[in-house]
């Protein structure tokens, strides 16, 4: 047992190849041995968590879709009225915040995938070289991922504050008339938030790539070096192709992060002009003064459709691969 517990979880997460058919037989063997009480226990063990998850996550997601086609004041179910596509029509044509929000979510993704992701990969490659103090460096780069986004927001506000912030103090822009308002200026604030988001994303990507690099066969690299390839050629022709599974995960994680982006912006300026995001529009619609349930749900449906377009193909591919293994 002690041997088992020291097994690294990473190794165990990959099911050993070629066990599918004996597994199946064993499972059928298991089922034959069950008593009535066992079956009842099993039903509870599988049923209760599923009911909780489905009720709070999937039923509400479906309710979002249903409510998006209605208006409702939230008081009594008989006030729910079917309005067809009205909410969407208004959202697409009449909401000055909607298209900027979509645009900002897209920018969020593009920036994350173009700046911190390659940066994280680069750091992972360097730290994978068996250098001294690798753990110390890793800890430094990974620290922002551990700290909550709310705290991150406050910490970066101290950097961006026009009067007292680090940047303006250093470049001398903290005197009246010279202010650079990093958080208030709608041309600047999205980029300011994105720097903070990238600060965090880099460490996350670094850890994912470090795990991925462990699966690259060192012999391949050595062979490539012996053939006279330089570091860049080895990376491009040997290392990067073997990182394909990691790249898929990174892509999905980054898209999801871009769709989920909320905390930082909410702490910075509650999604005021310049930093509108879909998630912020949904939330402001709930906690704001004029809560419009159907309308808020319509925004959520837009978010849901985009998310599922990414999640479903990814999961199907993942599970299919697993089944084959």
């Amino acid at each position: 047992m002690t041997v088992d517990t020291t097994n690294s979880p990473e190794a165990a997460a990959v099911p050993p190849p070629g066990t599918a058919s004996p597994d199946k037989r064993a499972v059928q063997g298991h089922r034959r041995l069950l008593t009535r009480r066992d079956r009842f226990t099993l039903a509870l063990m599988a049923g209760l968590p599923t009911i909780l998850h489905v009720a709070l996550v999937w039923v509400t997601a479906l309710a979002s879709i249903a409510l998006a086609f209605t208006t409702w004041d939230g008081i009594g179910f008989d006030s729910i009225k079917w309005v067809g596509l009205d909410n969407f029509r208004e959202l697409f044509t009449n909401n000055p915040q909607f298209w900027p929000a979509v645009q900002h979510n897209v920018i969020w993704f593009v920036v994350l995938i173009l700046v911190p992701t390659p940066m994280g990969l680069f750091l992972a490659l360097q730290l994978d070289k068996k250098i001294r103090f690798s753990r110390v460096y890793q800890t430094a780069f990974f620290l922002p991922v551990v700290v909550s986004l709310a705290v991150t927001g406050f910490v970066w506000q101290l950097v961006y504050n026009p009067d007292t912030g680090l940047i303006n103090s250093i470049i001398g822009a903290n005197k009246p008339g010279h202010y650079i308002d990093w958080i208030g200026d709608p041309h600047l604030n999205l980029w300011a938030v994105l720097i903070a988001a990238s600060w965090r994303h880099t460490g996350y990507m670094m850890i994912l790539y470090l795990a991925g690099l462990k699966s690259v066969d060192p012999a391949l690299r050595e062979a490539s070096a012996l053939d006279g390839a330089n570091e860049w050629q080895t990376f491009r022709n040997v290392v990067f192709p073997t990182l394909r599974p990691t790249n898929t995960v990174v892509l999905v994680v980054t898209i999801i992060e871009a769709l989920r982006a909320f905390d930082l912006v909410f702490v910075f300026n509650k999604g005021a002009q310049g930093t509108e995001l879909l998630s912020i529009l949904v939330t402001n619609n709930i906690i704001g003064e004029s809560s419009r349930i159907g309308y808020g749900s319509a925004i959520a449906v837009v978010l849901l459709v985009i998310s599922l377009a990414v999640i479903i193909p990814y999961l199907i591919a993942t599970f299919r691969k697993e089944r084959r293994a």
């Binding site: 990959v14 979002s64 910490v155 850890i207």
Partner: protein, 294 residues
């Protein structure tokens, strides 16, 4: 670890290595700069920084801002709120998701994939997709006498439930992969000997899952501690908020100058930092464990 062992074999420091270390040190310091800047501001008295500016040589460094932030805003109360939410949420999530994982990995392959798909996909959804109906649902559910507010809304119970529902997707996925790697003969033999399913789960499978459970527990504790969104929307009374979400209100009410804000924010980060430094290995392995799959 290998520093002492590999000394003899290590090639002498080449210029490339020195360059690499210089690059890494500078980048690492740049990465820590925002946090160090917050620490620097938090250690200085407000009077001094307002007179000399924030970029200046400190005359006096003290922990006064930390004690003031902690006492004035009654932070202990909010840490308590977090504890009431996070501890049951982590335990329940691990328990329920290990039950599902046990079932799908040992007994039923037909629903296995479908169930895992539902759980994992649910976990990947942005929270805002479900928040509007969830908020209404929490307002509709009356629980007189069970929660202080009499509803799921504005109660610790409501937050625990949504955390459990949301996070169990990820955990069930990771644990079922882990359990599938345990040999089947183990449980088969116990079943033949007449052990009940519950004993199989509780006394044989679960103890073998300790490493995965430890990794997930670390990860969940930090995630739930760091949650901001659920509490902002589902808790209306400022008093009932867990610490991370309370920070937003406190910063306007009690943390009146940037030095106090810095101290308050750093105090909030301390528990996560402690968990991270003590259990770094678990945290990182938990993260990559899940991310390698979904």
């Amino acid at each position: 670890m290998s520093a002492t062992l590999g000394n003899g074999r290590r090639t002498p420091l080449r210029p490339a290595r020195i360059l690499l270390h210089t690059f890494l040190v500078v980048t690492a310091l740049a990465w820590l700069a925002p946090l160090l800047w917050a620490l620097f501001a938090a250690l200085r008295p407000y009077a001094e920084t307002s007179e000399k500016g924030y970029v200046s040589w400190p005359d006096k460094l003290s922990l006064d801002n930390f004690t003031n932030a902690f006492q004035q805003s009654d932070m202990l109360h909010y840490f308590g709120n977090t504890l009431i939410i996070a501890v049951p949420a982590v335990l329940l999530t691990l328990f329920l998701s290990s039950c599902v994982a046990f079932y799908v990995s040992r007994f039923d392959f037909r629903v296995n994939l479908f169930l895992l798909l539902v759980f994992t996909a649910g976990n990947l959804l942005p929270q805002q997709v479900i928040i509007t109906p969830l908020y209404r649902l929490y307002l509709l559910v009356d629980l007189p006498g069970i929660t202080v507010s009499g509803k799921l809304y504005d109660s610790a119970l409501g937050l625990v439930l949504i955390h459990v529902a949301f996070q169990s997707g990820f955990c069930a996925f990771v644990l079922s992969n882990y359990m599938r790697s345990l040999p089947h003969e183990l449980t088969e033999a116990a079943l033949v000997d007449g052990a009940s399913v519950w004993r199989l789960y509780w006394q044989i499978v679960l103890p073998l899952c300790k490493p995965a459970m430890a990794a997930l527990a670390t990860l969940l504790s930090i995630w739930i501690y760091n949650d901001f969104f659920w509490a902002i929307v589902l808790i209306s009374t400022g008093e009932n908020m867990p610490i991370t979400s309370a920070l937003n209100n406190l910063s306007g009410q009690y943390f009146t100058d940037p030095n106090l804000v810095a101290a308050g924010a750093l105090l909030t980060a301390i528990p996560t930092l402690i968990v991270y430094f003590v259990l770094q290995r678990q945290f990182v392995s938990g993260l990559t464990l899940g991310a390698n799959k979904g």
